[in-house]
């Protein structure tokens, strides 16, 4: 933390703000310091930290002081962190909160998240090194280290070892993930086999399977993402879920349809509905399967499929003759 200097926090001429994040705590190596809760700003030239309660308390360190950075993922009760390894402070550094430090790195704790983006932008700035080509107005301490100088930086061996460890751990994580994935897929495969066997039994015993059981079976297939092998359908390839969805759609689409002359392409509907939902979106197949049930459920909207394959939803109430004339024109507008 002795690399930091007091600053006004105002950006210099030629210095641009890249990203900022609230709720960041600074640590001097492993030790907590009083800089507990602040806004961390990344500019093209510096890393600036301003206390959220006391705006006068503002410190900064030039990006040229940074040797390298690494991520520390969050844990239980611990925020995600970025560890910033720094060159030793230059002798002509402006005064700061600490005269000395036994650590050559600091930690940024992201108590309110934002570390992924911040890390990304910081890495970018470290690569681009824009501070070198954009000199700023203030006489800042610029670390004149060149590549050769960097090699001389303190503790470079320890740093390299850390990079290697991190790479190994990433590799280990990935291979563990693949292993777990393979095991999971084995179990999924068993489910597929079982469903095929049930489907065959259903086919053989035509008429002996109750509607209820068929519906149950279909919902199991839906959960697993297994294609429905049973050809004899009661409600198309739909399930209870699709039936409910169909009813929901009839409600949601009434007004939009009226606003658009009673007709909308399925693509438009897909976008409209999913944009409105935000989360737990519908798959294209969910939408199609639900729409196929509209007519049989006697809902006020219905699905129409043209010879070209284009699919639209239209209001049942609209006069057919009226629609034929303007339908062609509307379809060209709707789908291009």
């Amino acid at each position: 933390m002795d690399r930091f200097s007091w600053t006004t926090g105002l950006l210099e001429l030629g210095e641009t703000l890249v990203v900022q994040q609230r709720g960041v705590r600074l640590s001097d190596g492993e030790e907590k310091v009083k800089f507990d809760s602040g806004v961390l700003l990344l500019s093209t030239h510096r890393l600036i930290w301003r206390d959220q309660k006391n705006h006068e308390c503002c410190i900064a360190v030039p990006l040229s002081q940074i040797v390298f950075i690494e991520e520390q993922s969050s844990g239980i009760g611990k925020s995600a962190k970025i560890v910033v390894h720094l060159h030793p402070a230059s002798s002509n550094k402006e005064p700061g909160p600490f005269q000395s430090s036994k650590y050559s790195y600091i930690k940024l704790s992201f108590k309110e998240h934002g570390q992924i983006e911040f890390y990304r932008r910081l890495s970018e700035e470290m690569t681009q090194r824009r501070w070198e080509s954009m000199p700023t107005g203030q006489a800042m301490q610029v670390n004149k280290d060149t590549q050769a100088g960097r090699i001389r930086a303190v503790g470079i061996v320890g740093i390299e070892r850390k990079i290697e460890e991190k790479r190994k751990e990433t590799d280990k994580n990935i291979s563990e993930a693949f292993e777990d994935l393979s095991k999971l897929m084995e179990k999924a495969k068993e489910m597929v086999e079982l469903s095929k066997s049930i489907a065959n039994k259903i086919k053989e015993k035509q008429g002996d399977i109750t509607e209820d059981e068929t519906i149950r079976f279909k919902s199991y297939l839906l959960s697993m993402g297994i294609a429905n092998p049973v050809t004899r359908e009661t409600y198309g390839s739909g399930t209870q879920y699709h039936m409910q969805l169909a009813k929901q759609l009839a409600g949601i689409l009434q007004t939009p349809l009226e606003e658009r002359g009673g007709i909308m392409s399925l693509t438009e509907v897909y976008c409209l509905v999913n944009r409105a939902r935000g989360l737990e979106l519908l798959s294209p197949e969910d939408l199609v399967n639900a729409c196929k049930m509209l007519e049989s459920l006697k809902l006020p909207i219905r699905l129409r499929i043209f010879d070209s394959g284009v699919m639209v939803i239209e209001l049942q109430s609209h006069n057919e003759e009226e629609m034929v004339a303007s339908a062609l024109e509307t379809i060209f507008c709707a789908v291009g």
């Binding site: 983006e117 777990d180 489910m191 297994i226 294609a227 798959s283």
Partner: protein
């Protein structure tokens, strides 16, 4: 089946036998369904465990997503079939791809007036990334292709055409047969094509070449340059994005969808 005897007794006996057979048949299916239900619950637990350890991996790592998708396809499972599926609910893969689908549709709609509904995968990728903004999860070209394959089911004419090592994405239900596709592939090298080139490369007659080009013109996928030195050139705006000085902003793209 033979009729053993005609009397009421024989008929009643047969009916009883049939009923018993039906019952047994139903019981068999019920057994298997119960078994499937139990196994499903077990699988759900396994998937939950997997998700708790590796959900991030799927979100962050495009290569892992590819592996995951390929494995699913191999065993006959479609994790993107329904938003109600376990995969979607627990791993969040569904929302990732369905939202991507919306973004793809919006970009294609916004640019359709320029390229007639044909766009390179590269340009689509760029525009989608721009629209998603800086804080969104990264998407790969493979992700786009998978999302597009899912969109086809909406009957909107989305198609993927391989050209010169990459892909053209078609987003309008225009009829593009083998002839059209081959001409597109020919045009990919320079961004334009002429009747003579088609004739010499593909050994077609003039009439066939002209028909294909006329169709592409009509669909707005090709533009005609009659002032070219030797003969008219048919340019494909989809392949020539450097010409455009104006770019579509995410806001404009959103406005294109009502």
């Amino acid at each position: 089946m033979h009729r053993r005897g005609v009397g009421a007794g024989a008929i009643a006996k047969r009916k009883l036998a049939e009923a018993k057979y039906k019952e047994r048949g139903t019981v068999l299916a019920e057994d298997q369904l119960a078994q499937m239900s139990k196994q499903l619950d077990m699988f759900k637990t396994n998937l939950e465990e997997f998700a708790s350890k590796h959900k991030q991996e799927i979100r962050k790592n495009p290569e892992f997503r590819v592996q995951f998708q390929d494995m699913c396809a191999t065993i006959g499972v479609d994790p993107l079939a329904s938003g109600k599926g376990f995969w979607s609910e627990m791993l969040g893969v569904g929302d990732f791809y369905y939202e991507l689908g919306v973004q793809i549709i919006e970009v294609c709609l916004a640019l359709k007036h320029r390229n007639g509904g044909l766009i390179t995968l590269e340009e689509l990728h760029q525009q989608v990334l721009k629209g998603r903004g800086k804080f969104a999860q990264d998407v790969s070209q493979d992700d786009l292709l998978r999302a597009i394959k899912k969109l086809k089911v909406l009957g909107n004419g989305f198609g993927i055409i391989p050209v010169g090592g990459t892909f053209l994405i078609q987003s309008v239900p225009a009829e593009l047969n083998m002839d059209h596709t081959v001409v597109l592939q020919l045009a990919e090298k320079k961004g334009f094509v002429t009747v003579s080139e088609i004739k010499s490369s593909l050994k077609w007659e003039t009439e066939r070449a002209k028909q294909v080009l006329e169709h592409l013109l009509k669909e707005g996928m090709a533009w005609l340059d009659e002032q070219a030195p030797e003969e008219p050139q048919y340019w494909l705006p989809a392949l020539f994005t450097e010409l455009y000085s104006q770019e579509i902003t995410p806001e404009e793209a959103k406005e294109a969808i009502p």
